[in-house]
Subunit: 392 residues, 3 copies
């Protein structure tokens, strides 16, 4: 049916546009001395994802090759390139400001060609008729990638952050909150396609999908704000807002076409609360996540996957009861943890041993605009700040 | 029909994206010391609109509740959340730089839950079969919200501006015109969905709707430029351009699927002229509209509503003659003024008496980035400027 | 068929959005003292294109007038306004920072009303049943405007750059790479509509079109990077990335629905290499292209048009053999060169003789924000830099 194909393409285009959202969001959060680096790296990561996913990843995930596939499957490939690109782009932003661009790009090769597609195969691998989706066969459910895309990305990020360590200092240069806000709106806009494209329900249920996406994001923001207010951290609610929106978007991705709008409201709210509170855990363990990828993608995703059994419409349940479904969801997450976190830890460890992940302390202070791109204006600014500091 | 539903969703997504446009536009116009505040407030206002509109507003407007509505209506609800969000977001930008964020958020609760939906009920309330739309029954016409959304927003804004008063000074910090230009293009892009989504004509007339939207915006720009040139205000034509585009977009919203493209050209041109000239009136009465919301949304909207009878294709006329239609249009606007302006004046007066609208003079000078969000870089900048001024 | 019309409108909206992409891209590349000028000029050029194209250009190109055309053709007109706007907006960005805005706007009148539509008529003029498309009848092929839009724009740009000459200095003020990156992503997003909208294949082939667009852009980036690395220009690869993406996008435009995805990979890669290497030629001849329009649009477009015969699926060939097709492609490009470059050279020469193209050296140093828009903050910055320089 032609309308279906066109819908997939429009949704895929929206998911592609999320790359612009990530770029704005990340460039808005990093210090000005690193904005060029983080922007360009978003372009490069996308290039690598496309190359790896069409040559290896898509075949691993769905058992079909670009050389021999029928042309009617091209829209599906297009959409799934964009899904892969979302999964791959996230860790690099979180690890920015002190990671070598070569290390991040090397990691993205493995993320796009191995880590993401293999876990995707476990869950969605039967979409084109294959029978590789053993997690799905065991009852694990994920509507549009809360686990396949987002917790996978979150676990890769967590492994990377552990290996690379915190930034030396975060008090130089300034961020750009309007740009980050634009990024959030672009991500939200693109997320409509993210949840809409991966059709596991009929096309006439897309109104529900779009509505749930919007509701969960809005109430995610509210949940994070409430959690923040209860913690009385004046002036910090800015970050809570961003975490709440993204946490809500990620969480509802698990179930967006399978639950009533009021369920989406509750899922979003809970995910927002959890995303906000999770920043406390990150602070406690000294995990320095520049763009709050862990609260949004990992915590939001876990919330979505584990809340699914309790909010999904009964007709969609794969297991016999909500409790059994909860068991299947836990299993899926554990496999995700084992595969994505375990393999990423190994990968980042190996990268660190070979080409090295971390830039030198001096380079970190100068900023990666200078180190990677010889940016003259960052140089001028650096010289000015240095001479100023030497006078103190 | 599935194509129809999908069209509504795509248009709704575009209207959602207008939120990004408003954010860029407003953050581009306010001084740098307030950009964080105005960006975040756009997110918060959207959250409030969603919460209020799904719980109360939609029911007031169309007589249907999210709890019991059929799932086939979800796309319609999705679209109308986005319309409400446009109506609600506008006044806060215009009142920025000297208004308390709590006051603005309180006002948006009433705007989304009462002021907007009740007037919407008068005009569009019969869309789902109800018979609350007495203005429509008296012959008042509004294709996609020139009055329901835009003059309503304009009247709320006018009331707010009168109560809050002008900024103390506008000569500190700088604006960002490229960001504002990006905002205008995003708004224009989203406006295609705004006019396209509210289908009062068949889907095969959407080419006309998109074309008219584009023509009116372009010729609105031209009208405002001509008006500006005749007034010989060198160097001020930048603001005229923005007002012209937005004025043209708002005006054609009244009639976008009901008139010939050449009519859209003329409507846009007239609205552009009026939007530009209206800034003189605002200056004369000392109304300090930071983002030119009054020229664009109120003046543009009034132009559209009052020009409709003379340019609409005869087959679409609700009244017996163009003159009678003009009478109905005047009536609709008067009711809009009475309800939206009257109630808003009362609302802002009450807010001012209770929590207060205006920040202190010192806070206004510091900028709301510091006051609301403890932004350290705005602090540093403020200290620098202050010490510089004390040396003079 | 209703789905077809709606598809054209959605694609047209995406092509419209490319205007936002050009604005961000150009404002990101020019020095900060010129960002207002370049942003506003994008709005004004669009206005002029709309006015000229609906009154003259569309009639010249397709033989139909807005006054008498059937309403079912409005979507097609909408789409082609957007194509024209892409063709017209490009030269002004490349010539920015030293050209008078009045000169650029005058040139855009001729570009939108004469240069673009007449060449378009030669290639696509039979789309609505006319028989003006003599190049098409001789076998020349262009899927979605690699020549009609992009090499035309490239030749106009080249003529303009030759007449206006290089900037005096490029070492004042700074650019904004995150904004330029956002611009690239917006352009890429819009390009899906650019290739999708100009349907020369059935709607069910749109998956191929979207996929090819993405692949060519990604591998264009890769080609440009490889070319850059081989030239060992450390720190300059930033520009290569941008040129590669845009060169790849332009090149695939020639053939996006007519070739296998693996062909799009190769076309993109070659175009990326050529786009990157072409900057050497520009440097050698001292052609100062502020936004790299020549590498992207002219070189990318030539690559696409000349690679088409070797990669197109045989069933789509218009000529009897690939070699003959190559001949037709060369002919088409030569006509394009003769018409677009020849006429533009004449036009810019005439504009230079009458109103003058170039701003004064002092104005160029001050920057056009001040000269055109009396921007006070650019003034303050200029005074500061001037007093600083006088102390040295």
């Amino acid at each position: 049916m032609i309308t279906q194909q066109i819908w997939v393409l429009i949704c895929g285009a929206l998911v592609f546009f999320m790359q612009a959202g990530f770029t704005c969001y990340e460039a808005g959060f990093v210090q000005s001395k690193n904005v060029i680096s983080v922007s360009i790296e978003n372009l490069l990561t996308f290039m690598i994802t496309v190359a790896m996913f069409i040559s290896i990843g898509y075949y691993l995930m769905f058992g079909e090759s670009i050389i021999s596939m029928p042309s009617s499957h091209y829209s599906y490939l297009f959409l799934h390139i964009m899904f892969a690109a979302v999964a791959v782009t996230i860790f690099a932003g979180a690890m920015s400001e002190r990671s070598k661009i070569t290390a991040l790009l090397t990691a993205s090769i493995f993320a796009a060609g191995l880590i993401y597609p293999v876990y995707g195969r476990f869950v969605w691998g039967d979409a084109l008729g294959g029978n590789f989706a053993w997690l799905h066969q065991l009852g694990f459910m994920d509507y549009a990638g809360a686990s396949v895309v987002h917790t996978t990305a979150g676990f890769i990020t967590l492994a990377g952050l552990i290996i690379v360590g915190s930034r030396t200092s975060t008090r130089t240069g300034k961020s750009n909150i309007p740009l980050a806000t634009l990024g959030v709106f672009i991500l939200w806009f693109g997320w409509l396609g993210f949840n809409g494209g991966n059709q596991q329900v009929d096309l006439d249920q897309m109104g529900l999908v779009f509505l749930n996406t919007t509701l969960s994001a809005s109430f995610g923001m509210m949940g994070a704000l409430v959690a923040n207010l209860l913690r009385r951290r004046k002036g910090r609610y800015l970050i809570s807002i961003f975490n709440g929106v993204l946490g809500g978007l990620v969480a509802v991705t698990a179930v967006s076409g399978w639950c009533h709008p009021l369920s989406a409201v509750i899922i979003g709210f809970i995910a927002g609360v959890c995303a906000d509170l999770s920043t406390l855990i990150l602070e406690r363990y000294g995990i320095d996540d520049v763009v709050n990828a862990i609260p949004a993608h990992l915590v939001g995703g876990i919330c979505g996957v584990l809340l699914l059994p309790w909010f999904i419409d009964k007709q969609y349940l794969l297991c016999d009861s909500r409790m059994e479904q909860f068991g299947a969801q836990c299993l899926g997450l554990m496999v995700n943890f084992g595969w994505a976190f375990g393999l990423s830890l190994l990968m980042f460890w190996a990268i660190n041993k070979t080409i090295g992940i971390r830039v030198s302390g001096e380079d970190e202070k100068k900023g990666l605009n200078i180190v990677e791109f010889n940016d003259i204006y960052s140089w001028e600014n650096y010289m000015e700040v240095s001479s100023y500091e030497s006078q103190i």
